[in-house]
Symmetry: C2
Subunit: 235 residues, 2 copies
Amino acid sequence: MRPVPGRKSIPRPAARRLSLYLRELAMRLEQGESTVSSKALGRSLGLTDAQVRKDLAICGHLGHPGRGYTISDLVASLRTIMGRDRDWRVCVVGAGNIGRALVSYDRFRREGFAIAAVFDGNPALAGQEVGGLRIRPMKDLASVVAAERINLGIVAVPRESAQQVADALVAAGVRGILNFAPRRIEVREGIGIVSVDFTVALEQLAFQTATGLEIGEDAADDDHEPTDGEAPTSA
Amino acid sequence: MRPVPGRKSIPRPAARRLSLYLRELAMRLEQGESTVSSKALGRSLGLTDAQVRKDLAICGHLGHPGRGYTISDLVASLRTIMGRDRDWRVCVVGAGNIGRALVSYDRFRREGFAIAAVFDGNPALAGQEVGGLRIRPMKDLASVVAAERINLGIVAVPRESAQQVADALVAAGVRGILNFAPRRIEVREGIGIVSVDFTVALEQLAFQTATGLEIGEDAADDDHEPTDGEAPTSA
DNA sequence: CTCTGTGAAAACATTCACAGCG
DNA sequence: CGCTGTGAATGTTTTCACAGAG
C-alpha cells in the first residue's frame, strides 16, 4: 500500500527464508565452521545458489568472491535484520495443552525469547505451576505485561476467545501476537501478527500427499501485508 | 516443469489459502449460513474478492451470479481437493512437551485426522499413557504403522534425531510427515513434508514487530516444491 | 579457477475491469 | 442490480547468465 519513504523493503518470501538461513548458519557456527558458499547453504536448505545470493545480498555485501561468506558476519547481520538483537519478552495466554507445551519449550529461552508469564482465563488454574512459572488470572494481564516489560504475546486459547484475548494483549501493550487459535485475528496497524494452525499444517500435508507431490520443506501458515524492512543496503 | 497432461496445477500460495477457506466455510456452515459472496469471504480472511473468486474457480464453477456460493458445495469440493475426503491415520513420534500436546489436541480428531499411536525413543516412557494412548517403543514403529494403517507421521523429537525418525517413518510406510523439529528434513520424492518451527514463527513476528510492519495474518513456515495437482515432475 | 553480486529475462501471482448471468 | 468468472494488465519473485573479485 504505502511505498514507504527511504526504506528498502524485504520481499515477503525472502523474510521467511532469512529465518531458515539464520537457523542453519547458527548451527554451522556452533559446529565450528567459519565460512559457507551460497551453493553449500542452498544445498542444506533446498534452494538454488542464486536464490541464496539474492537473499543474502539483503544483508549487505558480506560475501567474499572465491571464498564464500563468513558465517559469523552473516549471523550478526541477520540477527539485526530479524530484530533478534533486541530483548523480547513473551507471555503465553492459555494454559491448555499447547500453552503448557510452549511455556516448557526450552528452545525459546535459548534463542532469546524469554517467556515471562502465563495466563489462563480459568481462575481455578491460577497459582498452578507450569515450566517454572505460576499461572496468573487474566485480570492481572495488563499489570504483569507492564511490570515484566512483555512485548510479545502468544495466544493459545480456544477459537472463541482468541480475538478477545488478542485485543486484551494489545491493550496491555504487546507489540506482536503469535496466534495458535484456528481463526484469523485482527489487530490494528502497527501490531505484528503471525498465526500457526496445526490443522492447516496437517491439511497441507494431506493435500500434498493426496495429490502426489514431490519433496519439500518447511511449512505452516504465514502471511500478511508488505513486510518491509530496513536495509539501506543492497542495490 | 512439465505441464502435466490433463491435470490443472494449483498455485502454491493458493493451496495455502484453500485451507483457510475451508476452515472459514466449515465454521459458517456450522453456524447455519448457507451462502457467501466472494466479498464477504474475502472480508473474513483479509483477501480481495477477486482473489477469492480466482481461488474458488479451482473448485469448478460453483458460484451463482447475483447470489454467491453455496457453502456446502464449496466445502465438499474443497475437502476433495485437499484430500480431506480420505481417511488419514496419524502417529506421533516423540512424547515430549510438543508430542504430548499434539496427541491431546482434540481438533485433529474432530477434523478427521485420527491419532492412532505415539512412540518415544526413551524405552522408560513406554507404557505410560498420553491422551488415551500408551506410548510405544520405537522398535514397534513398523509393525504398528502397518497394523494401524497409519499414513501420516508427526515428528516431535529433538533436532538431532529428526531425520533418522523421518527415515524410519518413511520406511515404515507413511506417505507424509509433519515436522516440528528445527531442521530441514529430506524425504524421497513422493513423500509429503510440511514443517512447523515455533522459533521461526516467533522470529517472523520479531521481524515484523522490529521493522514496523502493518497488519497481517496467518503465519509459520511452509514450503516445498511445485505443489501442482499431480506432478510426476523432476529436476 | 571458485564464488559473489546483479542486471535482464522468465515465471508466477495478484489485481483490475468488465461481459454476462440470474 | 449484485455477483461470478475470466482475460488482460500489473506487480512480484525466481532464475539465468555473466562480469569481476580474490
